[in-house]
């Protein structure tokens, strides 16, 4: 089945192999290195490394590599930007302005850095969701999931901290709101806020701290964790498709997969450069726009249409949906608590998904992933839309926006269910159903978002409990 070493012709630098008796390593540079550092076993390992081919589309396997490619671009362009950026009250904004207007190709470097950041978040999110859907997190790969999850959080941290550095108005308010959220952390909140901001309010001290985080702390953490992440993958190989009855076929990592990887990286580079050249300040949708604008001014009021970056929009919108007080706590506090729970569940999925751990399909968890997508999409659409345009808006404008977003998300949800039942033969849609019900109740019937959520969650729990009691007696056959 495996074609041995006959496909190595493409990699000429490996030709200088040790002789077959294994006695004396070869001559040449490789032999020289090998005599000192014994790299042959490593090469042997790489030569036999395989990527499992299975029932699912191979494309999912490339997303991690693409994410890493964008990260490398970030490091390179970041270092270049560092050579002109001067943090400081009178210099941060000015140096970016100088960079984009005077420095030859300064605009391009900044544009590539921004575009690559957004594309990295997109590919990382897709990578995470595909891992989730394919259940690649199941034992023994729990820690690969957790390390990837940490990388995801760090990437969001990169986005958030980098946002402030140009020291413009938009950054100022986005950072004010974003950092203020930590105030809701029980006990430590006030202290955390002070440490994060370097003072009571967002000032230039905040920028210094974010700068340190953005260019030193986060990159170090990222490189450390991604090394672990890659090490895990190298040690364990990629996850085979779930409940594969036959041993999965494989594709050689070297050169077949690696060359495909490189080809894709080239394609990504082309895409990146094209976007960066033709849309140097972003596509101009709110939350994906890096026009410098005017300089931060602590004494200027916030203005209409202030939005965070698109990947924080769902959180921004969720914050809006919370009433001032709930359960005797302040709204934002409860909101933060809810987000922490959701993120916590996401982190420990490998341990929650007992069926996948036994290499069995776990439809409930697939459905959980799809429902999470709907949840995020609906909030993001609402956050995008425009509830806050114009000073003179009234409730009906917000409701109208919610209705439009609800129709879109419902349509997407129906298409999603149809596709899943036809293509993946999924039959379990309780959580997706609950998410859609909440969207319908909120967007179409005008029930408050949280109440709608509580009703749908309650119904979902009842359905799950009922089906559990009905199927647990004949011994878990019905749920697949």
């Amino acid at each position: 089945m495996q074609s041995g070493g006959s496909r190595m012709e493409g990699l000429s630098f490996l030709k200088n192999e040790p002789d077959k008796n294994g006695a004396e390593p070869g001559r040449g540079l490789l032999g020289w290195v090998d005599r000192r550092y014994q790299v042959t076993p490593l090469l042997e390992f790489m030569r036999h490394k395989q990527v499992p081919l299975g029932s699912h589309w191979m494309g999912w396997y490339y997303l991690g590599g693409i994410t890493m490619f964008f990260f490398i671009v970030q490091v390179v362009t970041g270092v270049l930007l560092l050579m002109y950026f001067q943090p400081g009250e009178a210099t941060a904004y000015e140096s970016i302005h100088f960079l984009t207007t005077k420095v030859p190709f300064g605009w391009l470097i900044r544009s590539v850095h921004s575009w690559s950041a957004h594309l990295m978040i997109i590919s990382l999110t897709l990578h995470m969701f595909s891992t989730m859907m394919l259940k690649a997190y199941r034992p023994p790969r729990e820690l690969t999931w957790v390390s990837g999850y940490l990388l995801f959080l760090i990437t969001l941290g990169f986005g958030f901290s980098g946002y402030l550095l140009p020291w413009n108005k938009l950054a100022y308010f986005a950072t004010t709101v974003g950092t203020n959220i930590v105030r809701s952390v029980p006990f430590l909140g006030d202290w955390l806020l002070l440490v994060l901001r370097g003072g009571q309010d967002v000032t230039i001290n905040t920028l210094y701290r974010f700068f340190a985080a953005h260019v030193v702390i986060l990159p170090l953490a990222f490189v450390g964790i991604i090394s672990l992440h890659l090490l895990f993958i190298q040690r364990q190989g990629m996850a085979p498709p779930i409940s594969a009855k036959v041993a999965p076929r494989g594709m050689k990592f070297f050169p077949s997969f690696a060359l495909r990887d490189v080809l894709l990286w080239l394609a990504c580079l082309m895409l990146l450069v094209t976007l960066a050249v033709f849309l140097p300040y972003g596509p101009g949708i709110p939350g994906m726009d890096w026009e410098l604008g005017s300089k931060a001014d602590a004494m200027a009021p916030a203005y209409a249409g202030i939005k965070p970056e698109w990947y924080f929009l769902w959180e921004y919108q969720l914050l809006k949906e919370f009433p001032p007080h709930l359960f005797g706590l302040e709204g934002p506090q409860v909101c933060l608590f809810l987000i922490a729970i959701l993120l916590g569940i996401w982190a420990i999925i490998p341990w929650l998904d007992r069926r996948a751990a036994r290499n069995k399909p776990s439809p409930a968890f697939s459905d959980f992933g799809w429902a999470a997508i709907l949840f995020l999409v609906y909030l993001t659409l609402m956050g995008w839309d425009i509830g806050a345009t114009g000073a003179g808006n009234d409730m009906s404008l917000v409701q109208r926006s919610a209705r439009v977003c609800a129709w879109w998300t419902l349509a997407a949800g129906v298409v999603m269910i149809a596709f899943r039942s036809w293509w993946f033969e999924h039959r379990w849609f309780v959580l997706t159903g609950a998410a859609l019900l909440q969207i319908a109740l909120h967007g179409l019937m005008g029930i408050s978002y949280l109440l709608a959520g509580a009703i749908s969650a309650g119904l979902a729990i009842i359905v799950i409990a009922a089906s559990y009691f009905m199927t647990s007696r004949p011994n878990e056959t019905g749920t697949t």
Partner: protein, 156 residues
């Protein structure tokens, strides 16, 4: 004999246990002695700067006349000073009680508005709608005989 061995081993375990405890405690103390300075280092000093009442400059007063509001620092805090439709001067903390954005004044509607999540306050600082959980604290504002406008922290 048997019994003696037993006691010996028992006392060794407890001694070992004690030493472990000591070791653990000193490692903790050692870590704390490293962490403490770092933690203190990271916590910023309290902000210093002008405290007490603030008097608007000529330009600020002109801006207030023109826009019907202005945001100025009072004792290191952002404060919005506004002129209501019946020409009354009012001052509030400009820091939205929701997530701390800087509010603005909509003269046409007599509303203090926070654009960040669409929070609205009336002209006594009370929340009209939106997510802010608390009213805006009010500041005292006085027009002096010479026409100067002074904002101070004590309640109006």
């Amino acid at each position: 004999m048997q019994e003696q061995v037993h006691t010996v081993s028992n006392s060794t375990t407890s001694r070992r246990h004690f030493i472990d405890l000591l070791l653990g405690a000193s490692i903790l103390g050692w870590l704390a002695s490293i962490a403490y300075p770092v933690i203190r280092y990271l916590k910023p000093l309290p902000q210093t700067g002008a405290t007490g009442p603030t008097r608007l400059t000529r330009e600020e007063t002109a801006k207030l006349e023109q826009d019907q509001f202005i945001i100025v620092p009072v004792s290191g805090q952002r404060v919005i000073v506004l002129q209501s439709q019946d020409q009354k001067l009012l001052a509030f903390s400009a820091k939205c009680t929701h997530e701390g954005c800087t509010v603005t004044y909509l003269p046409g509607q007599s509303v203090i508005w926070c654009p960040c999540h669409d929070g609205r306050y009336d002209l006594s600082g009370r929340v009209l709608s939106g997510p802010p959980p608390k009213p805006l604290p009010e500041y005292a504002v006085r027009r002096q005989p010479d026409g100067g406008i002074v904002i101070s922290e004590e309640r109006a």
